[in-house]
């Protein structure tokens, strides 16, 4: 009995990076805010590089609460989209090379999103990681945490409910 040889690492990486690119790039608002994603295996970390246009209170200065909300929501929705896409690309059901950025057929829609502001967002880079708590056929619930200098000191967290894309559409 011999197992099939594992795929070469660069093939695996190329496939996964292409899938992530298709998911993230081509969405104007995500690019406007400058949000990027770092991938380690299937784990994603969202990165929001600081920029002056993100300021909400010029006196402190602090990141705008709306930017924080948008950053967390983007992290949550990309994580959910990624978890759906991961299975499809790893099973060979979808070829990531054929995915056009920003034109993915299936994207979850936000139903409701609740943000807790725990600390003021400082004028420096912010990071976020989202976790799909429940992913059903119709609805999904995602929790997301954001921090700046210290992973343990969150500056915001959020929970969102999403309407799953209809797979047979």
């Amino acid at each position: 009995m011999s197992r099939p040889r594992p795929e070469p690492v660069h093939v695996v990486q190329k496939r996964r990076d292409a899938a992530l690119r298709a998911l993230v790039h081509g969405v104007p608002y995500v690019e406007f805010l400058g949000i990027e994603f770092d991938r380690r295996g299937d784990e994603l970390t969202a990165l929001l590089p600081f920029a002056d246009k993100l300021i909400g209170n010029p006196m402190l200065p602090a990141i705008h609460g709306g930017v924080t909300a948008a950053f967390l929501e983007t992290s949550a929705i990309i994580e959910l989209g990624w978890s759906i896409l991961w299975d499809q690309i790893e099973s060979g059901q979808v070829d990531p090379e054929e995915l056009t950025p920003g034109q993915l057929p299936q994207f979850p829609k936000t139903i409701g999103f609740t943000v807790d502001y725990l600390r003021s967002g400082l004028p420096r880079n912010a990071y976020a990681r989202a976790r799909v708590v429940r992913s059903g056929r119709r609805y999904a619930s995602v929790h997301v945490e954001a921090w700046q200098d210290n992973r343990d000191k969150l500056f915001a967290q959020a929970t969102g409910h999403f309407l799953m894309p209809m797979m047979d559409e």
């Binding site: 995500v30 602090a62 709306g66 930017v67 929501e73 983007t74 139903i111 003021s120």
Partner: protein
């Protein structure tokens, strides 16, 4: 801060809101403010699209508009301090905003206690009968002048 006339309070809230860099970046325009109520408009802009296939504005941009509008309504309330920060904000999305139409937000700060301001808001496009999104939030109402406000208008 509570010795200010409603007009002065509205004026300060208006100036502060209009000076927010991110609100400017999103093209927000404050159309009316005073006595715990604020109206802000955000024109349609292709840079804020969330779904390139349909041209629908990203939910995050709507969140930024609602958060700004909520904060402005708090600052204009007679019993709230002139500076505030978001504690929490819940947004429900009823439907995608129609591409090409501006989004108008209306926030009402309906209650201010010793330390917390309670706000609700609605976002509409040209269709006045069907809201695009609604928001409910709490904001700081820290009257102690010596204490550092952690975040103003978040």
């Amino acid at each position: 801060m509570n010795g200010l006339t409603p007009e002065k309070k509205a004026e300060i809230a208006k100036r502060f809101t209009e000076a927010i860099p991110h609100s400017k970046a999103l093209g927000m325009e404050l159309t009316r403010i005073g006595n715990g109520e604020a109206f802000i408009e955000m024109p349609y802009d292709e840079r804020f699209i969330g779904d390139p296939r349909t041209g629908v504005i990203h939910g995050g941009a709507v969140s930024a508009l609602l958060d700004t509008c909520c904060g402005a309504s708090v600052m204009s309330h007679s019993r709230a301090p002139a500076i505030t920060a978001t504690i929490d904000l819940r947004i429900d999305y009823m439907r995608p905003a129609t591409p090409g139409q501006k989004i108008r937000a209306h926030a009402t700060c309906y209650r201010v206690t010793k330390s917390v301001a309670f706000v609700r808001a609605v976002a509409m496009d040209d269709d006045d009968d069907r809201p695009v999104a609604t928001a409910a939030g709490t904001f700081t109402a820290d009257h102690a002048p010596g204490r550092k406000s952690s975040e103003a208008l978040s």
